[in-house]
Subunit: 519 residues, 2 copies
C-alpha cells in the first residue's frame, strides 16, 4: 500500500512559491463559503513519527482562518475522559456545522500503536476499526465531510530524520526515547496502519496517502486536497440549493430546507476520488519506479531458467502435499509478455496441479451475478496452482478506464477485492500478483512486430491500439490499484518487462521465493 | 428484542383460508414480474429450533413457482467446501438475477451456535458479523434484494413443542439429542442471536422478527412480507424505468439501461420498513402485554415506598463508591406520570450524586451537531446517576411520528442508539429504560383534570391534545422501538401507569433490583 508513497515526489521552491498565494486565497474563500452551510468538516492528520504531522497542522492553521477552525491534539486519557466511554473525547471535540476540526491523529493513533506493540490482538483491532467505521458513517450520513491524511516516510527516511533532529541542539528535545522505540517497530507499525487504512477507507471518509519526504510537496498536497474537496462539496451543494429554491415559499423555513438539501445531496454524491487525474498529473506514479533497463543475456537466462524451473516443479508438488493453494495473478500492458511468462511456469508443472484461467468478457451466466462470483466459482481445491491471465482487477482497470463500471462501482471494488483476497489468504492460500510493465516505445515495437510476422498477427487487434491511446488513464488506474490493493498478505510485484528474459526470470524467482518462505 | 415476538399473535383458520388465495396469486405474479428484472432475491429463514423454519420454507416452495426458486439448506462443511474459504459455499449458491434463493439459516447458523456453546469468543463473533454485513452490503449494492426472517419461540413454547414432537411416533425421529442440548442453552442462544440480529439489521438487508407460536400467523407473516417487499421493489423499479424510457434512443442498450436503473433506484431507495402500520395493524403490540389493572392501596404503597427509597439512598452511595454510573431513561405517554416517578427517586438521593436532564427542543448549538451529540455531552462522570426525562429515543418516537426526521434518519437511528448504549455499558454504566404506559381513557381523565385544577393547568397544552390524536402512530413507533432497542445490556421495562402508586413502586423496585445485581 505504501509503495506509491515512496516515489521521491517533490515540488521545488520556485514552484511552491508560485502556487501558494492562489492556494491560500482559495482556501480562505472556500472556508468562508463553508461557514454559510450546514456541513461540519473533519480533517484527520495522521501518519508515522517524524513525517511532519505537526508541520502540516501548523500550515493549515496558518493558511485557514483560525476563527472557523479548531485543532484537536489528544494526548493520553485525562481523568475526566477515562471516566466516560472512549469516544466521549472525540464527541466533545467535534466541530459544529460550518466549522472545521483538525484532529491530530484522530481516533486512529491508539489502536495502531497498540497493535504494533502487540498489546492489542488482531480480533480486537478489527472490533475497534468497525467502531470507527460506524462512527464516521454516522457523521457523514448526518452531513459531515471527513478527510483523512496519512503521511508516510520510508524506514530509511524516518531514521535519517530522527538522527537529524537529534543532532540539532534546537530540536533535540523533540526526539524522545519513545520515538526510537517506535522506529524500531517500523514494520509492525506499518502493517497495523495498513490494516487500519484498508478497513476504514470508504467512499464516505476516504484516506489519502501522502509522501512526506519533501515538505513542500507534503504540505501542498494536503492543502490542495482540502481545497478541491471543499470546492466539489460546495459546488454540488449550491446546485442542489438552487434547484430547490424554486419550490420554496416560506422564508422562515429556508434554513431547515438548506440543511435537508445538504443531506440530500450528500446521500447522492459520488465520493471524492482522491487519486484523480488532476491530483497526480504533476507527480510520479508507481510505474516510474520500475527500472526498464534491466536485461539478461541469453547464457545467463538459460542457466537460471533451468534452476528456477526445476525449483518450481518441486515446489508445486510440495504445495500439493501440504494442501497449500497458490493463486498467481497476471496483469499488465497489452503485449507485455504475460503469456510467455505463464508458459515458462506451466511447462514444468504437472498438469493435474495447475489451471490457467484467461479472463475475457463474462458469460451470460456470470453477468447474472455479482462480478466477483465468476472468480469465486473458479477457486481451486486445496493444494492447486491457479494462474489468472487477467483477473478481478479488470474491475479497477479496463472497466474503470472504459467506463464499463460506474464510478461508485469501481471505487467500492478495492474494498471488495481486499476482502476477497484476505479470505483466500486466511484460508491458507498464497496470492502472488504481477503487473508486467513495459515502456510505451517497447509496446509500439512489439505491436508493429506482431503486425508484420504472420503467425503473430492474431495477437494484435484494433482494441490494442485503442487501449494504447489511453496509456495515461491506465497509468493512473494502475497507481491507484497498487496503492489500494498491495497488502501485506497479497502484495503486488512490478515486473520490468522490456527485456522478456529478465521479466520471465523475475516472475519465476518471485513465485519460487514466495512458495519457499511459506512451505 | 424478542419481547415483541411473544405476544401470542395468531390468525384463525377462517381468516387464514380467506387470505391465502389472494396471497398466493400475488406471490406468483410478483415472482413472474421479478423474473423480468435484474434483481436476485435472497431470503434467509432462520430462527430457533422447533420454530418451524422447515415449514416456512416448504410453504414458500408451495406458494411460489419452483422453477424460479432454489432452496439452499447447508449442513456441515463438505470436503469440497472445507478446502476453500468459508464463503465459497454461499457464493456458489447465490441466485442469479431474476431468481429467488431461499437460504435455510443462511450464514447466521454457525456463528450463533458456536457463540452459544462458547466455542467462539465475542471478538470473533464480532469479526464474523462484520464479514456478513460486508457480504450483504456488497450484494445489495450490486442490485440484490435481501430479506431475513428470524422465527422466535419463547422458552416454554420451545419445550412444549419438542415434547409434543417426541411423543408423536411419526415425528419422534425429528427430535435429536442435539435439539435438547440446544434447548438447554436457550438463553445463551438467544443472546447470541440478539447480537447477530442487532449488528446485521441494516436498511440494506433488514431482519423481520416473526412470532412462530401460531403456524398460520407465522407462515402468513413471512409470505406477506415477501410479497410486500417484492411489490415495493418492482413498483419503484418500473417507475424509474418509465422515467428513463423517455431518454432512450438505442433499443440495443435497453437491457443495460434497465440494469443501471435498477441499481440507481436501489441506491436512492428508502429501505423497506418491516414494522410498518399495515404489518401490525391487525396484530398485537408490545403495549398490549401491560396489565393496566394492577393497583396498590395507599397503606401498602406507603410501606413499600419507604423500604425502596431507603434502599435507593444506600445504593446510590454504593454506586458512587464503586464508580459505577447509572443512566435512567424515562419515556412514556403525556401525563403518564414520569415526573412524579422521578421525584420519588430524587427525594432520597444526595444532590451531588444525581442529575435530572429534561429533553426538550435542542438548542442552536445542539442543532449544529449530530443529534446524539447533545446526549454525549451530558454523560456524567463515573459513579453518578443521570435521569433523562425523555431522551435520545425522541428520534424514533416524536421525530418519527411528527416527521421531523426523514425516514432514513430515524431508521438508521436504532443501530446508532444501540451502539451508543453498548459503549456506555461496556464502559461500566448501567442503563435502565422505562416506558410508562397508560390507557387512552386514563390519559383523557388526567388531561381533563389538569385543565380543571388551576395549579396543574400549565402542564397541559394544545400539543398534548395533538399528540393524543396520533396514539396509533405512537403505538407502532413504541413497538418498533422496543423490538429494536431492547437489548440484553439495556432492556426496556414497560410500566403499568394507570395507578400512579403502582407505577412509582414498580420503577423504584426495578432500579433497586438492577443496581443490586450489579453492585
Amino acid at each position: 500500500m505504501f509503495e506509491t508513497a515512496e516515489l521521491c515526489s517533490q515540488i521545488d521552491k520556485k514552484d511552491y512559491k508560485k502556487q501558494l498565494p492562489e492556494l491560500r486565497a482559495g482556501l480562505l474563500q472556500a472556508q468562508f463559503a463553508l461557514s454559510k452551510t450546514n456541513t461540519p468538516v473533519i480533517i484527520i492528520v495522521s501518519g508515522i513519527d517524524a513525517a511532519g504531522r505537526g508541520d502540516v497542522v501548523n500550515a493549515l492553521n496558518e493558511w485557514l482562518d483560525t476563527r472557523g477552525l479548531e485543532t484537536i491534539a489528544l494526548d493520553s486519557l485525562t481523568d475526566e475522559e477515562s471516566e466516560r466511554p472512549y469516544y466521549w473525547r472525540f464527541w466533545r471535540q467535534l466541530p459544529a456545522r460550518g466549522r472545521i476540526g483538525i484532529f491530530f491523529g484522530g481516533w486512529y493513533v491508539d489502536p495502531i500503536l497498540q497493535t504494533a506493540y502487540q498489546k492489542m490482538k488482531k480480533a480486537h483491532l478489527h472490533e475497534a476499526l468497525t467502531l470507527m467505521r460506524r462512527f464516521e458513517t454516522m457523521l457523514v450520513e448526518d452531513g459531515a465531510l471527513i478527510l483523512k491524511f496519512w503521511l508516510h516516510l520510508s524506514k530509511q527516511e524516518q531514521r535519517k530524520r530522527l538522527n537529524k533532529l537529534q543532532k540539532n541542539p534546537h530540536t533535540r528535545r523533540s526526539v524522545s526515547e519513545r520515538d526510537w522505540k517506535h522506529a524500531k517497530l517500523y514494520q509492525q507499525f506499518l502493517e497495523a496502519a495498513e490494516t487500519a487504512i484498508r478497513q476504514t477507507d470508504s467512499g464516505n471518509a476516504p484516506w489519502l496517502l501522502v509522501e512526506a519526504t519533501d515538505w513542500r510537496y507534503r504540505n501542498l498536497t494536503v492543502a490542495r486536497t482540502v481545497l478541491e474537496t471543499l470546492h466539489k462539496h460546495l459546488e454540488a451543494q449550491s446546485s442542489t440549493t438552487r434547484k430547490s429554491a424554486n419550490s420554496k415559499t416560506n422564508l422562515d423555513t429556508i434554513d431547515l430546507n438548506q440543511r435537508l438539501d445538504n443531506k440530500q445531496y450528500r446521500e447522492e454524491e459520488i465520493p471524492p476520488n482522491l487519486f484523480s487525474k488532476e491530483k497526480i498529473s504533476d507527480s510520479k506514479t508507481i510505474l516510474d519506479t520500475v527500472d526498464l533497463n534491466q536485461r539478461l543475456d541469453n547464457k545467463e537466462y538459460r542457466d537460471e531458467l533451468e534452476t528456477y524451473q526445476g525449483k518450481l516443479h518441486r515446489l508445486a508438488w510440495a504445495a500439493y502435499q501440504k494442501k497449500c493453494s497458490t493463486i498467481i495473478v497476471f496483469e499488465g500492458w497489452d503485449a507485455a509478455g504475460k503469456g510467455g511468462a505463464i508458459r515458462r511456469m506451466t511447462q514444468v508443472m504437472d498438469a493435474r496441479l495447475y489451471r490457467v484461467i484467461s479472463i475475457a468478457a463474462p458469460t451470460d451466466e456470470e453477468r447474472a451475478h455479482h462480478y466477483l462470483w465468476r472468480f469465486w466459482r473458479h477457486i481451486a481445491r486445496a493444494g492447486r496452482v491457479t494462474i489468472y491471465d487477467r483477473s478481478w482487477y479488470g474491475r479497477v482497470l479496463v472497466e474503470r478506464v472504459e467506463e464499463f463500471a460506474k464510478d461508485k462501482e469501481w471505487q467500492r471494488a478495492y474494498l471488495e477485492i481486499n476482502d476477497f483476497e484476505e479470505q483466500l489468504v486466511k484460508h491458507g492460500s498464497i496470492i502472488i500478483k504481477f503487473w508486467v510493465h513495459i515502456s510505451k516505445d517497447e509496446q509500439l515495437r512489439r505491436f508493429q512486430e506482431r503486425e508484420q510476422i504472420p503467425y503473430k498477427q492474431h495477437k494484435i487487434t484494433e482494441e490494442d491500439w485503442r487501449n494504447r491511446e489511453k496509456w495515461e488513464d491506465y497509468t493512473i488506474a494502475v497507481n491507484e490499484m497498487v496503492t489500494r490493493t498491495s497488502t501485506h498478505f497479497a502484495p503486488w510485484a512490478l515486473v520490468a518487462g522490456d527485456d522478456k528474459r529478465f521479466a520471465r526470470l523475475q516472475i519465476l524467482k518471485t513465485v519460487c521465493e514466495r512458495l519457499e518462505t511459506v512451505l
